[in-house]
Subunit: 555 residues, 2 copies
């Protein structure tokens, strides 16, 4: 059984399947916002499409509509003025459940084809979505385009590829013939039907409204489930554009658009009621530990795939490229003002300092040099604004102020306020670097989301590795890094990450950064430490989102 | 990377991989207890091996041994007199965790090879294990051999095949080269390490101590985890023999035998402490809803794969093979005195009766004819004893007495006590059949484990299908059946099972029975209704038992 849309996108699917098997570099979605790649008019068309949403109600024609809501305030300073339909959650659940019948009936091939078509359409909207992501999250333009557009589409496609691979293993039917010695065999015909578990709820975050939403959205959708997307209250527009496109593709293909809906909830209580509804069978969540743990504790009817807080960290033992290391770290700490779930928060440096190609550096020298490196990197305002973007939430700004105050550690580099000439009302802050001792666990051993990092003085490299392992095991992490010229140190750190189950980047000095993960190649999260109970993507991320129901009879 | 044991068993693995992909009939483990297949001396050797365990301590040389325990009383009437080491759970956890290092190091190929060797060795012990299963569970000899030996080994092999398939998708390393226009590409080397989650706890049941234990045991083991087997207190011996063989194969291959241990716990509190230990990362459980739900609610640090109670049911609409249908049902209700998790408990029959090839039959006639069919099937004592076996627990015997008393419904066929001349002290009971109305939900809508079935009078076929769906959705079921000559009824029942997520057997009239599921072909459970949150076996049963930890660096 195939489907016209599967055939249309067959090459993309085959390449994606090859990519997840070999995990080399691959993408069908160009990451450069170039008219050559996306079409001469794409940049202007995308900008206009984005602007056309502003100050208006965003129509979705969903069931159970009871009002309008939307108060997104851009971190760049402008109110977007878009309002979104508020729909009765029960109506969305009922319509989604009903829509699953047709979605089940077209089979894995049909579902995969439709998902691939949706992704191609979203890719064509990359400029529009990039503007929506930039203005709701405070990301710089380039990151908003890449992470919000093609990289998010990559992660969606990756989930579709995993979902297809697992579903394609289930044969539609079998002929079972059991020999009976000299008697005729026992013969049965068996049929195997893939059925989705039910409604999937995907709860987005305020910083990466597409990148962190597409994996769960497409994993649940491709495996036969209805999906309700509940975006962060300040980053609705990228999700709304996505949902509208999905609904259009569904309708064009004779499927109920109500399979995928947007849920804008006036209060957290409404989200909680939705999340605990018996028909909701999976929840994908990115966000705070408090709400994430609430979901895990209370939504026992659902599989919960959660990405929560963590304390990403780096061990510096030694390096043969001191300047390049500092430059790499400066970029990592500055990118999107450290508002990535993968940004390093704690940098462990031996009390006795480190050996480098530029001579031995004391702990204090490392602190000072990293501070200088960040300052130098952000010295040009146009670079600073492009990299830093704006601070997404008032809570983050407040955390920066607290860190600047020196309560959490000695201020090695104070956060500065910058004025963005293009967006005078934007909240722009440079990173703050703090120095503290390993014993000051209260300071550095909880997530302080934003551009706040600690250079932690640790007895020696062995202690730093042990501390890194303990931090990951108890508080979680999505990324750890290591700088060392010694193989025994690299081996010890590698084994520590096997125990604590976290991805390790070793000696990053050029154009790859510890806070970046590439779809099809890098697993985002391992699912094995407290920062996340699932990874983007692996078999476990998709395999339990569908069930197989068989029937059999004699023939 | 391969391993000598993987190469030794390569054909078996390849055939198993083909079997789970095509789901036709296949097994490497002959189900007939024949000297021709197992060796001329195998039956006697197996019997002697079993007898050599009786009345003695069962040495396992496990760490933390603090005493001996074992009070297995055979349902056939004899005390086995075997005692087993009682070991400190913490010592077993520590030793298992330590042993995981070497187990991780040999990789998926090594682990798979060792698991295949273990299964081959267990197969050679089928007679010994069959006696142990028979005497601890009360199963008849043939079932004890088949379900306790080759069929259990099939289910173990099936889990190993799934585990291998999923792990084999993870490349050991990749070369990631991202083009940079006219500049040289960004190039990284990445390594992907498969790591087990931690210690797997496998909690066995009293009726199928190998068949229900091997899937979780081998799924956890093959994916890189240590395993602690906690058998039911009355069915320790089959697990102990299994664990001893596993430990021997591990030691022969230079691996720590403490990777797999037996935990005989004096009280439930000890099992609870073990199950909630932070190092225990997966729990496979077969048993009661009470303890299963306790595990799910309290062991939040672990993935819990649970098979619990259910209300299996059959809808009878019509048949063109009335006698064969009754004969098939008589066998199903009698086999192992209905002490299978797959035995039908509720049979829904329209109030207006059913059309058959032997004319229309009223509801009362169906009741009477099924009763007669069971009586006739069990008329010969040698057949009755071979099929019924003995009652495994006093609770089951008590439930039979209550059903016989007529409190739960009109007694259509009373359970009889039989004397087994070979085992005078055995508790042997024939099935009890009760008639009741659909409204008597309190009677039939909870699991009454044992040979207790209800013929439930339902308004019509449509109501019967709706009732079946509701029972499965709310109380769970591992099996449902349907008898109908009408395609529209078959279609309606099929769709009902898609919604309630339960396996359907249609018009079984010959040598296949609704309570039997064949490894590699039939999924045991769907994981989608309250009777079980997992299936034997599918990708979801193995994919989340390991995690992938990556590391990357510039090249």
């Amino acid at each position: 059984m195939s489907h016209p849309l599967l055939e249309k996108h067959r090459d993309t699917l085959d390449s994606a399947l090859n990519a997840i098997a070999t995990r080399g570099y691959w993408t069908p979605f160009p990451e450069m916002p170039s008219p050559k790649l996306y079409g001469e008019t794409a940049p202007d068309d995308g900008k206009r499409a984005f602007e056309s949403h502003l100050g208006k109600p965003f129509e979705l024609e969903q069931p159970g509509q009871a009002g309008w809501l939307g108060k997104e305030a851009s971190p760049y300073g402008a109110a977007l003025g878009v309002s979104y339909p508020v729909c009765e959650p029960k109506a969305l659940i009922a319509a989604g459940t009903e829509a699953m019948k047709g979605w089940q009936a077209i089979g894995a091939a049909g579902r995969t084809g439709v998902c691939l078509e949706i992704l191609a359409r979203l890719n064509a909207q990359s400029f529009e979505i990039a503007h929506a992501v930039m203005m709701t999250t405070g990301q710089g333009w380039m990151m908003a385009f890449q992470a919000g557009g093609p990289h998010a589409q990559d992660r969606g496609l990756e989930a579709v590829a995993y979902a297809w691979r697992e579903q394609s293993f289930v044969p539609a039917e079998s002929n079972w013939e059991k020999p009976q010695g000299k008697n005729p065999p026992l013969a049965m015909k068996k049929h195997y039907q893939i059925v989705g578990r039910g409604v999937g709820l995907v709860i987005g975050c305020g910083t990466f409204p597409t990148w962190n939403t597409y994996p769960g959205l497409f994993a649940a959708l491709a495996t036969g489930n209805a999906v309700i997307v509940k975006p962060h209250s300040n980053a609705i527009l990228p999700a709304a554009i996505t949902v509208r496109t999905i609904r259009a593709v569904l309708a064009e293909n004779g499927l109920s658009p109500d399979l995928v809906t947007l849920c804008v909830a006036p209060q957290r209580a409404a989200t909680q009621a939705l999340a605990t509804h018996p028909a909701v069978k999976s929840i994908d969540f990115t966000g705070s530990n408090v709400f994430g743990q609430w979901l895990i504790d209370n939504c026992r009817q659902a599989q919960v795939y959660a990405e929560l807080a963590g304390v990403n960290n780096i061990v510096i033992d030694s390096t043969d490229a001191y300047k390049a290391m500092l430059g790499n770290l400066a970029f990592t700490l500055s990118l999107y003002s450290g508002q990535m779930c993968t940004t390093s928060q704690a940098i462990f440096v031996p009390a006795g300092g480190i050996d480098t190609d530029d001579g031995h550096k004391s702990y204090d020298e490392v602190c000072a040099d990293l501070a200088k490196s960040v300052e130098r990197f952000l010295a040009k305002p146009e670079v600073a604004h492009a990299v830093l973007g704006a601070i997404q939430s008032a809570d983050t700004a407040e955390r920066i102020d607290i860190a600047n105050g020196g309560e959490l550690g000695r201020v090695v580099l104070a956060s500065q306020r910058l004025d963005n000439p293009d967006f005078p009302a934007a909240t722009v802050r440079t990173p703050v670097l703090l120095a503290c001792d390993a014993g000051d666990e209260k300071a550095y051993m909880e997530e302080r989301f934003g551009p706040i990092s600690f250079i932690v003085k640790v007895a020696d490299t062995a202690a730093a590795i042990a501390l890194s392992e303990r931090v990951v095991s108890t508080h979680g992490a999505l990324t750890v890094g290591l700088y060392s010229t010694r193989q025994d140190v690299i081996d010890a750190m590698t084994e520590a990450t096997w125990r604590s189950k976290v991805a390790l980047s070793i000696n990053l000095t050029s154009g790859v950064f510890v806070n970046q993960s590439a779809a099809f190649s890098d697993y985002h999260g391992t699912g094995g430490n407290p920062a996340a109970n699932a990874a983007y993507s692996d078999s476990a991320f998709v395999a339990n989102r569908f069930r197989v129901v068989q029937r059999r009879y004699h023939v």
